[in-house]
Every structure is written in structure tokens, then in C-alpha cells.
């Protein structure tokens, strides 16, 4: 089994944010991927999707599925992350007030993504964009 799915994340559209994660969750469930792994992928990808909507004017997500793992590659052309170490700290957030009013911006996005995946890598260039690669082992 070697499958690939791609999604486009629209900028500033909170009514649709989470659709890609919900879709991949449904697909993995149909493939009989273990329940806990599906939950991990859905949570990590949702956080990434929300980050792309809040900070990066959307972007693209590619998900690779094989027998051993699910790998998500979230690529955006946003402003980049100036201090990755700081961004990884729980509670650190640069989200604006209107985002906080929606219940986000608690500074849990990246820490949650790390917590729920087995591997996570952040490649970021200021002014060019960020690519987050996350892997959940099956």
C-alpha cells in the first residue's frame, strides 16, 4: 500500500478549516488504520491546518500512507517562523485577538503536533514559508 492525498488549505476561512483533517480521518478509518493512530493524525493535521489559516495564508498538505506510517507534509508560503524553539513552547502564541476569540491562539498548536506524532521536522525560511513534516508510525 502506497497512497498519496493532497489538499489545499484556504486562507482565512475558519468555516472550512479542518476539512482536510476530517477527510483524511475518514479515509484512514476506511483503510482500517488503528483507531489511536487515526486520532493522532487527525489532531496533528488539524493543528497544522489551523496554523496555516491563521499565520500563513493557507497552503498545501500532502499525506503519504503506507503499511508502516502516515506522513503529513504541510507546506505554506507564509512569513516563516523567526524562532522555532520559542514557537514550540506551550503557551507561546503570536495569534491576533480575533483568532483568540474563536478559541485558538493558546500557544498549543506546534506542541500538540509534536506530542501526537512520532517524528516532526520544521523547515522554515523567513519571508519564504514553512514546511512541517510529521510522521505517525502504525
Amino acid at each position: 500500500m502506497n497512497l498519496e492525498f493532497t489538499y489545499t488549505v484556504d486562507p482565512d476561512d475558519f468555516t472550512r478549516a479542518g476539512e482536510a483533517s476530517a477527510n483524511i480521518k475518514k479515509k484512514l478509518k476506511k483503510m482500517n488504520v488503528p483507531h489511536e493512530a487515526v486520532r493522532k493524525v487527525a489532531i496533528a493535521m488539524y493543528e497544522g491546518e489551523i496554523n496555516m489559516v491563521i499565520h500563513a495564508n493557507g497552503g498545501n498538505i500532502t499525506v503519504f500512507v503506507n503499511e508502516d506510517s502516515v506522513t503529513m507534509v504541510l507546506a505554506d508560503k507564509g512569513p516563516g517562523i523567526p524562532d522555532v524553539e520559542k514557537a514550540m513552547q506551550e503557551g507561546f502564541s503570536t495569534a491576533p485577538d480575533n483568532i483568540r476569540a474563536l478559541g485558538f491562539g493558546a500557544g498549543m498548536g506546534l506542541p500538540n503536533m509534536k506530542k501526537y506524532t512520532d517524528e516532526m521536522k520544521i523547515d522554515t525560511v523567513i519571508g519564504e514559508g514553512t514546511t512541517v513534516t510529521m510522521k505517525v508510525n502504525l
Binding site: Y46, E47, G103, M108
Partner: protein
């Protein structure tokens, strides 16, 4: 206790906005209270009854992705139109109440114990 059994025990202080087709199969695991969606995303246990004042579309997103059992919107907080629509689409049980978060959660907790 199943979600469907819980729904039958609610009195007039609770309004069932949407009922999942799976309410008769979903066993309640825990009562969970939180208003920050990122915290809820990480910590809402599958099968939980989640009590919150956040009634927007992303609340339903978190419910769907964490496999929550039911969500109670407390304090008469607004459930916006998009959220109600998404609840129906995603088959999520949603209840509204004028009770504060703690009292709504305690009511469910007492029914469970």
C-alpha cells in the same frame, strides 16, 4: 451509560439541538470542560461529554476529530448557524443549556456515578 441514555435523563434545562445517529452506540467515558479549542483538541477524550461556552464551527471540528461523544454549550452561549449546520453534517450530538459550565458538568457527572 450511553449518550442516548444521557439524553433521556436531561430535564427541561437542557435542549437537544442535534442528535447523532450513533448516540445509541456511544459509551460515555468522561466529562470534560474546556473553552480553548487547542487544549480541547489535545485533551478531549474520545466518548466524552464536553462542556464549553464556545459554540462556533471549530468546536464541531474538534468534536469530529477527537471522537467526542456529545458537546454541551453552557451559559446560554450562542451556537452559531455554521456550527449548527456542521453538527448536523458531521453527526454530532449537541445540547444547549442555560446552566453554568460547572453545574452542567456536575449534572452529567452525578448521572454517571
Amino acid at each position: 451509560m450511553l449518550i442516548s441514555e444521557l439524553l433521556e435523563k436531561f430535564d427541561e434545562r437542557f435542549e437537544i439541538v442535534n442528535r447523532s445517529d450513533e448516540a445509541g452506540e456511544t459509551e460515555i467515558t468522561k466529562v470534560f470542560c474546556c473553552d480553548l479549542l487547542s487544549f480541547a483538541m489535545a485533551r478531549n477524550p474520545a466518548g466524552s461529554v464536553w462542556v464549553t461556552v464556545m459554540g462556533n464551527v471549530n468546536t464541531m471540528g474538534v468534536m469530529a476529530l477527537t471522537d467526542g461523544g456529545a458537546v454541551i454549550i453552557a451559559e446560554n452561549a450562542a451556537l452559531d448557524e455554521n456550527a449548527a449546520k456542521k453538527a448536523a453534517e458531521q453527526n454530532i450530538t449537541v445540547i444547549k443549556t442555560s446552566l453554568p459550565v460547572f453545574e452542567a458538568a456536575l449534572f452529567v457527572h452525578n448521572l454517571l456515578s
